[in-house]
Amino acid sequence: MTQYIIKRIGWIIFNLLVLSLIAFILIKNVPGSFLELQILIGQAGTMGTGLTISEVEKVRGVETEMMKRWGEDVPLWQQYLTFIKGLVTLDMGPSFRWPTQTIEEIIANTFPVSFTIAILAVTIAIIIGIPLGVLAALKQNSWIDYLVSALVMVVSAIPNYVMAVFVIFLFSFWIPILPTYGWGQPKNYILPVLAMSFGPIGSIAGYMRTSLLDALKQDYIRTAWAKGGTERHVIFGHAMKNSLIPLVTILGPMISHLILGTVFVEGMFGVPGMGQYFSQAAGSRDYPLMMAQTVIFGLILMIMNLIVDIIYFFLDPRIRVSRR
């Protein structure tokens, strides 16, 4: 097992290198640059009449100086090596857009927040979603089942910013017990976590329902009934565990997605997570942040997959025990 994990980690590193190289090439070839966009902003703030072409041309004089500061005055391959070196030594320098924060600082400050929120949201989703799914499966084709299925559809279809407004109305206006915005106190976690958990509740409940229905059709379940097993025995002793295993596979991507894909919820509730930094990185051509984003994204995804595989390994004897 240890050997397997080491091998996998080796693969992750290799994949990250490939990924970052591809990303680097792509990023550097997208038209537009941070400076170009800054001129745009500066211009809007001051002259902005569109007649300031000569002004813009003059500003370009600074470009060389800035390129030097950002290490963009050397050939691309050298820039890439610098990036890799920065990655390895955890010294990736400042972001363009957040010039007084280094990439490492940004990640160190925001990752724990995003991670906690994501884990909490998934935990809630599991706590609510699994029983819902089980209920729907056990009462297949009853009104409960239809209700759950409708719920699953609704919450998966509604974007999380609508959910965000919904929970704000619910807990800040109708039952005014929580602030809509802010960070620092435990209560600040409640609304964002809630808003983020709806989608996962839907997918977990839906997934659980199908996978339990699937399990219940298996012959070993029939045998268990035939043996005189009780409901508790058959469903919880036999069906549940088997239907939970496939669920683990969707949790990995789900958590990665939540860690990285929470821009709106972060903005809405004032959560200082990664999403807001990253969502603006590409738009503002903040190359260091874009690169960091790519690597973090890849890393989280691959580590989640690894964790899922390890959990799978312990859960599923078919994988754990090799054929004799």
Partner: protein, 572 residues
Amino acid sequence: MRRFLTIILSLVILSSTFLGTAYAEKVFRWSGSWGNTWDLSFHQGFIWVHMMGLTEGLIKWDKDMNPVKGMAESYTISKDGTVYTFKIRKDAKWSNGDKVTAYDFEYGIKYILSPKNGRGSFFGGAWYIKNAKDYANAVISDPNQVGIKVLDEYTIQFTLDGPHPDFLTTCALPTLYPMHRTSIEKLGNKAFDAGNLVTNGPYKLVGYTPNVEYILEKNPYYYDADKVEVDKIVGKLGGDPFLMYRRNEVDLINVGAAQLPVIEKDPILKKELITFPQSTVNLMYFSYFEHPAFDDRRVLTALQKAIDKEKICKFVYRGLAKPAYSVVTDLIPGSTANDPEVVEKFRFDPEAARKLLAEAGYPGGKGFPTVHFLIHSGQANDPLILAVKSEWEKNLGIKVIIDNYEQGVWSVKRFEIQSEPTFTFSGASYLYPDPAAPLTLNYAEGCLVASLKTKDLVEKVRLEKEQTEALKAGDEKKASELAKRIHNIIYTRSTPEARKILSLVQQAQRTTDPKKRLELYRQANKIRDINMYSSFPLVQPMSARLVKSNFEVPFNKYLVGFPVGFAYIRTK
């Protein structure tokens, strides 16, 4: 049930207000600012928060936007208007108790100018200082050549490149701010973190969570601390402002046209709504393309006269804007935005517009080229752009295509030469009430460029691209030759009116007599408004704010409607 909830709701609100008064601390929470760093050398949102309360220049603006002495105790201006000497007040202190000296100003201004720091904030009076622009643009590298001189610990002198009466007012802007040298040299980037940032204004930064909020507290060392009423300022950087306001989590928010109907229906909100004009014009302007139709003044006039700005203001902006006929708002002294002649020339008149277009050879829009609107993703839902498109299509029978690009791609695309007539959209804001704020020398030179025929403009852009290439290749000779040719195009092929504007502005810059100066600018404005066609002013938006009734906030019409200063906020 509903009633029950209302009772609970009001109880909660009551108790919260009650609790609020139980504490002596006065807190003002607002939403509407943004930013990424507290380093003044970076041109981004937080420099305005510096201006509102963290850092104070030699001059500050009083609550009515008049320049008054800030860190300066007194000042003298040389007869020719080019040398400004400021004496700094002895009781000026940084938020850590250090005294504010002339060296801090020299350090700060040069820090902001330096191409090694930040990315320059290219506006305002810093440009007037001798050699400042060349230093900022890395043309010269010696900061000592910049016209800033410390005469003694409390005296600083600026030598300008000419008389600029608006220099005094711009001393209140963030390009001419002092910075705390010792902390920056000791801590580097960390000097700009909350708690480390040393400021000399009425407030200091005590808390900052990026993308979430910042917290300012009264600076006890501020010389005028007695007059600062609010103890704590909280700036919220996200969230849904309208929801936060209604939930009583903020005291001031910006509102848009979309929220007006809701506000109108609510008697309390209606009372708390404040609207005021903004020194901004939304406009559209040519990109680089070649087409004779767009050199024809009849066509250009027709295009402008075919836009019903009144209707757009009424329906698109719900009254939160007024028609603009000049790229310079009427909030700027010397503006001719309301000049009857200007207004009449471009007033909405579809009949006349069609006639002009027909005279130019495009009756009913027949034969007229397809017009492109080159917009970026941030403008994709801008109703103004859609309105202009439909006005043109409806009133002139011409075809408009909207090309929507991602912002970064757009920023490159808009400088490219287009194959078909293309417009882009933008807004122009002017930061302070002086005729020179919009009418800089650069701008006047820009007028020359803007008056070129489309094919000359395209030629100029081609040459500029060649020039850039030549410079990159290190071919100085070719580059300077190209520069000459560019210069030649600009000065020989531009219109006499444009050259007149330039000479008026040049003249105005040398004029110290305020009345004469204003008149010169007025003339320049009017010529531009009547004769310059490459940009079409559309509307002048208004700011709308909701302010809780227990606060009185003076607003700055020139700075996207921020409060003038936190120190001026009063509680009722």
